[in-house]
């Protein structure tokens, strides 16, 4: 498949919600290690908002914008702003009802750009950025033409990035104050965002 239609994109969101819901407790428990134990609840709430809003979407820009605002109406802590910013950033770039592979890459880049306006966290800081940045970079750098293949490369990078957070010391978020004690657990946000990128690839 070379083009991303709006219907396929909606399927990607649906799949992400299903997969994230299945692992909700795991994400909350990761957050409970060094945070307040609610990341599972938060990411499920945020993704539920995406699919609810997406149902009425007819073209990318408006739908992504509405999804972004929909997420930000959720009371889901850090997650609502970060995921909301991601969708708003995608909306800044995407147009129409069907995206070429290049358009899709640009859309994800736009998402990352806007998340970066919300947080200075970089790779190595033990946050969701450890999944998001490698994922978007892999997507941008992919030489494949099949969108499933491109997204699969993104997913692989996201999962590797999330795995790497286990040995990191947290520099952002509630885990920051734990210092060395934050080692030994995967970051909850990196775990859930990598799960989401994996679902995107699997949904196609």
């Amino acid at each position: 498949m070379t083009n991303l239609t709006i219907d396929i994109f909606k399927k990607m969101l649906d799949r992400a919600l299903v997969d994230i819901k299945a692992r909700e407790d795991e994400f909350s428990q990761l957050d409970a290690q060094t945070g307040d134990g609610d990341h599972g609840t938060a990411i499920v709430a945020a993704l539920s908002a995406t699919t609810k809003v997406a149902a009425n979407g007819t073209e990318f820009k408006g739908m992504l914008n509405d999804i972004g605002f929909g997420i930000m109406l959720e009371t889901s802590g850090s997650t609502s702003t970060l995921l909301g910013a991601f969708f708003l950033g995608m909306s800044d770039v995407a147009n129409g009802t069907e995206l070429s592979a290049e358009d899709m890459k640009a859309m994800f880049s736009g998402g990352l750009t806007n998340v970066r306006k919300q947080t200075k966290a970089a790779v190595g800081d033990k946050t969701m950025m450890d999944a998001l940045i490698p994922a978007v970079e892999a997507i941008e750098g992919s030489t494949a033409t099949d969108i499933k293949q491109i997204l699969a490369e993104g997913a692989k990078a996201a999962i590797a990035g999330a795995d790497a957070t286990v040995d990191m010391v947290a520099k952002f978020g509630r885990a920051r104050n734990y210092g060395e004690r934050s080692k030994g657990f995967m970051d909850s946000g990196a775990a859930s965002w990598s799960c989401m990128f994996n679902s995107f690839a699997e949904a196609i």
């Binding site: 407790d25 909350s28 428990q29 409970a32 060094t34 945070g35 307040d36 134990g37 609610d38 599972g40 609840t41 938060a42 605002f69 997420i71 930000m72 109406l73 959720e74 009371t75 889901s76 802590g77 850090s78 997650t79 609502s80 702003t81 970060l82 909301g84 910013a85 919300q118 947080t119 952002f172 978020g173 509630r174 885990a175 920051r176 104050n177 734990y178 210092g179 004690r181």
Partner: protein, 337 residues
């Protein structure tokens, strides 16, 4: 019936909505719901004065909505349990209080709150709403002289809000308010200690499982830790340790006027809080410091966790005067002098 078997609640998903509804029904002369999850005064302040607004997750009652009222907050934007409200909700509150005098948004330094506030302010800017932020970062558990980005916002936001609220009521401009607040910020410091877990009312998770006889100084206020665990010592030793750490950060001079608050976070009794206050007071006295403003109260809780926060501040004369000004906020009522 919820799966959480240790609390008087209904459907866990509704705790925030139901607690806010109960709260405004109890204090209708002071507060009401301006919109979903937005608590406002029952009698609005005149529009020529700066509006003071804050935001934050629920589960910390009476904070932060308990401080809406004449002389304190104009509004509080409420998230779900321990979760920042989304930026959209904050923006909605900013729209409600749009005014030429401007809006001062008091933000506690937590990722979620900061990001919600930042994005809401970006949205407000585009909508021509005049809003400025003041960040509170009173937690010193990350170490003495840690840069403020690495210091969390704990219950020190509450006296900050009292002072800013009184100054706004008096008609101070938004820039004057920021000057008053930023002058207080480096002079206020907080440490939290806990010795028992609490239960998250929605997911039933046990937060901070501290074994009996162990305490941790340097807690956050959502169960997250950050200090070091140590065997439980006496109230006096605990208080002395905390005063010492706080003074090392603040470096007050003999003769300084101080504010001392001992804030219970849940299961720790007023009896214990008073015993801790006594020792902290004496420790300050021994350093030649003068406690001119005191308080023993649950102002910001962490569910039924056992523990407390000790908040210390050096006060300038105007800060003290604002603390003493009238307020009818339900959980910080001051007759005024």
């Amino acid at each position: 019936m919820s799966t959480v078997k240790t609390k008087f609640i209904n459907n866990p998903e509704n705790v925030t909505a139901e607690l806010l509804e109960g709260y405004v029904l109890a204090y209708p002369d002071q507060v009401k719901l301006g919109a979903e999850n937005i608590v406002v005064r029952a009698h609005a302040k005149s529009e020529d004065k700066v509006a003071v607004i804050t935001l934050g997750g629920s589960g910390h009652e009476p904070a932060l909505s308990g401080f809406v009222g004449e002389g304190m907050l104009d509004a509080s934007v409420v998230g779900d349990i321990f979760a920042a409200p989304g930026a959209q909700r904050v923006f909605q509150a900013l729209q409600m209080f749009k005014r030429d005098a401007g809006i001062l948004l008091v933000v506690l330094n937590h990722s979620g709150d900061v990001m919600s506030a930042n994005m809401a302010c970006q949205m407000a800017e585009r909508a021509g709403i005049k809003v400025k932020q003041i960040l509170t970062y009173d937690d010193i558990s990350a170490g003495i002289d840690t840069p403020k980005e690495d210091r969390r916002g704990l219950a020190g936001c509450v006296p900050m809000i009292k002072i800013l609220g009184a100054a706004a009521e008096e008609g101070k401009s938004i820039d004057e308010l920021i000057e008053i607040g930023e002058r207080l910020n480096p002079k206020i410091a907080t440490l939290a200690v806990a010795m028992k877990y609490c239960i998250h009312p929605q997911n039933g998770a046990m937060i901070t499982d501290l074994p009996e006889g162990i305490m941790e100084i340097g807690m956050g206020q959502h169960g997250e830790g950050g200090g070091g665990r140590q065997p439980l010592v006496s109230a006096d030793e605990t208080a002395a340790q905390m005063v010492d750490l706080l003074c090392r950060q603040m470096k007050p001079q003999a003769g300084d006027d101080m504010m001392l608050i001992v804030n219970g976070v849940g299961a720790t009794t007023h009896m214990e809080l008073s015993i801790v206050f006594r020792k902290a007071y004496k420790e300050l006295e021994a350093r030649g410091l003068k406690v001119v403003s005191g308080r023993i109260q649950e102002i910001l809780t962490v569910q039924e966790q056992a523990g407390f926060q000790m908040i210390l501040a050096g006060l300038d004369a105007d800060h003290l005067a604002y603390l003493n000004k009238k307020s009818d906020a339900p959980y910080w009522t001051t007759i005024g002098k």
